[in-house]
Amino acid sequence: MSLLAKWLRPGKDNKNATHDAESIEQQALLEQYPTLKIMQDLFADCADLIHWSWPESQLDMLYFSHLAGNEEFAREISEPFRSIAPDEMEEVLSRSQYKPALDCRSASKGILDGNVCLFHKGSAYLVSVSLPETRSISQSETETSINGPHDGFVESVLINLSLIRRRIRSTRLKALKLQVGEVSKTDVYLLYIDGLANAENVQEMKKRIELVEIDVVHDGNMLVQLIDDHPNSVFPLFQTTERTDAIASKLAGGKIVVVMDGSPSAFSAPSSFFEFFASSDDYYQRWAIGTMTRMLRFIAFVITISFTALYVSVTTFHYEMIPEDLLITITQSRSRVPFPPLYEALLMEITIELLREAGARLPTKIGQTIGIVGGIVIGQAAVQAGLTSNILIIAVASSAIASFVIPSYVMSASIRLIRFGLLLMAGLLGNFGIVMAIAIIFIHLSGLTSLKSSYLTPVAPINLKDWLDIFIRAPFSWIQERPSQTRTPNKRKTRIKQ
């Protein structure tokens, strides 16, 4: 067998061997004591690396100017070293901010993190001058808020951490620093509140992040797919958000939060399917309005997955379900359409998806044009041309609008995808097909877990107390306990056991 495998994949072993030899050489180099020469070799062909030299003081330094802040650079480098005598150099370098670099690995990582690496008389030191350019804190575009806080996460993990720390001023808020990506070496912080988060969950999450094997991770949404319980499922299993208030509330609920550098999306775990229908805004409204909005979203879910499917099912197989008066309208509307309802619906659904995708990819102003062109051309002209019926336009439009009511963009996209499955089943087997499709969806959902807890919590396993904060937004005085899914050691919201 192994001979056959070698014959089928010639040269693979050789390649591996070369790669291994290279990496051993590289490893050996990284273990050495850092000197200017070795460091310059390591960063060979990096045109953006700055090398400054003061021969009179025997001082050399390597750094990336674009990772350094002007003020920081002036404070740590320009001012201390500007006017000192060569014999004072060692005294300055003995200050605590100048940390000795003991091997090339830490020196190179330090430079990549925005430190200046100083070389003096055979010794190497690192000093942080890091202030990478970031965009300013602004409102999240995917999760807009009407009357809640407007600050959203940005791409810098340190700014994101500061936003979270400003909301939760507690020594119990812990942040474990981890790293993912063989090449990108991205910083990932695992946050939890000690005493509220389940210790097993924290360990499990830490283990999963440490075991990630990938070269580069670009975004929190990407990391989620690498560590969640069922990467092949269409549903998101950890909730991602760009809203700082949402993350603070998840932490306070006993969940674990992960933020990573370079991504404005933080995610919390464990999450349940129903949680994706809640928005932070619900808590900033009076409870009755919050409850109504939340219920509206569940109705929107039903509309999204069933409206077009029901249209197809009824107009293909179950005409008897339509009352007489309405039947006349529907038959008139469908009389000019030459296609079976399934084709007609698929045509419209795909068009709507095209419009949505085009609108998302284009700049806002052109996106609006696309909306108008799509609305008029697809809506009006398709009916006049006899390609589709009025009623279907209403069904497709309502289900598309309803899909956007779901606050989580990732969940909304998943639901839009499963809608096509329902549509096909309705076209093939009518109402029975719809019911079968719903059964399959729920069978799939019942098998899903989020950080080893049931994804269908609090319906299965049932927990009626959790319903107060999942299906409705009960008055705050009613919501006494943290979500059961977190398996928190401190159930009651009002106290923390010492």
Binding site: N431, L445, S446, L456
Partner: protein
């Protein structure tokens, strides 16, 4: 962490196993067997089922939560228990399979009459297989969500309130019934399903509350069945009830909303969820028994083989009436198992206990 079943899961599971398509013909069966006010016998059946659950409770207490298969094998030896397993496998798997086919045939009286019933049956078996391989804990989770999806249908009874007349109930009590014993037995098969809890012992979370949960599930079934039958008896006359094959289905077709009517195909569709759980749990029970016979075999493979075999068997009855005859006989068999198996287990456990005490 091994997940276990909580009492509420068990209660809902019992209710969902018990509730099936029989509910659509239950008022007719009661009318035929017991005549006027036959619905009064539904609570009596609930009570009989509760007594039967009492037997299961004794088994549970004596066995201290051990698996019934373990108990059987300890006294009968492995080989000795095999014939019993075989009987259980045949009855349970065929029941699951015939329940599915029954559902298909009833559905085809309303829609898709020209489509081959075995195609529908195949689809149901595939869905059942998908659920079956997820294990009993996930089955119970799916059951819970299906329960939530179907529980609201009880509210449909409100539609019949304006047309409900007490006069139709008449002052006669249980008069005018024919074939009381056989009809009654048929009616009792609507309550079957609770006996599968015998196999749930090893999967239960807490020792307390298990039997209470089974009773609660049975009670929920009993209350809902009584309500359905009561409303049907006040909605239709006795003559109508005995004339309709599926009176509840006809009642569903009576519901009209401003924008939709004749919704029985959709609502009957929703009953698929409860039927699916009945099917899956019977097949699951058979697979459990089969697993004892072939402990080294992969349970997913056993489930697949079993489903293929019974799919083949389900070609045999080719009309609704024939399926009903199969169901009737399998139902009788199941009644015997429901009562006989716990009694047999109690005897074995008592003998084992005496032996152990003798040794001590």
């Amino acid at each position: 962490m091994k997940e276990k079943l909580y009492p509420v899961h068990i209660a809902i599971l019992v209710y969902m196993i018990q509730t099936g398509v029989v509910v659509f013909s239950l008022p007719r069966i009661m009318a035929e067997a017991f005549g006027y006010n036959g619905w009064l016998m539904v609570p009596v059946f609930t009570l009989i089922a509760a007594l039967n659950i009492g037997l299961i409770a004794v088994v549970y207490r004596l066995s201290q939560g051990r698996s019934v298969f373990e108990i059987l094998e300890r006294s009968l030896t492995k080989i000795g228990a095999y014939p019993l397993y075989l009987v259980l496998i045949v009855v349970w798997s065929l029941l699951g399979c015939m329940v599915a086919k029954h559902y298909v045939y009833i559905f085809q009286t309303m829609a898709f009459p020209t489509m081959h019933p075995m195609l529908f049956k195949l689809l149901i078996d595939i869905v059942a297989f998908l659920l079956l391989i997820k294990g009993v804990y996930n089955i119970s989770k799916a059951t819970m969500s299906f329960f939530v999806l179907t529980a609201w249908m009880g509210l449909l009874l409100l539609f019949f309130v304006p047309d409900f007349e007490f006069a139709r109930l008449t002052p006669f009590l249980l008069k005018g019934g024919t074939e009381t014993i056989r009809g009654g037995l048929n009616g009792y098969t609507a309550f079957l399903g609770y006996e599968l809890t015998l196999l749930l012992f090893p999967y239960v979370n807490t020792k307390k509350g298990f039997i209470k949960a089974v009773h609660a599930g049975n009670l929920l079934t009993g209350v809902l069945y009584t309500l359905y039958a009561f409303v049907a008896f006040g909605f239709y006359s006795l003559g109508q009830l005995t004339a309709f094959r599926f009176p509840m289905l006809d009642m569903l077709s009576y519901i009209r909303l401003p924008f939709v009517e004749r919704i029985e195909t959709l609502f009957f569709g929703f009953f698929f969820f409860t039927v699916l759980i009945t099917i899956v749990m019977y097949i699951w029970a058979s697979t459990e028994a089969l697993n004892r016979m072939f402990p080294k075999a992969e349970s997913k493979l056993l489930a697949a083989v079993l489903l293929i075999v019974i799919y083949g068997v389900s070609w045999l009855p080719d009309t609704l009436s024939k399926v009903e005859i199969w169901l009737k006989w399998l139902g009788y068999g199941q009644v015997i198992i429901a009562i006989g198996l716990p009694v047999f287990l109690i005897l074995i456990l008592l003998i084992l206990r005496r032996k152990e005490q003798g040794h001590a």
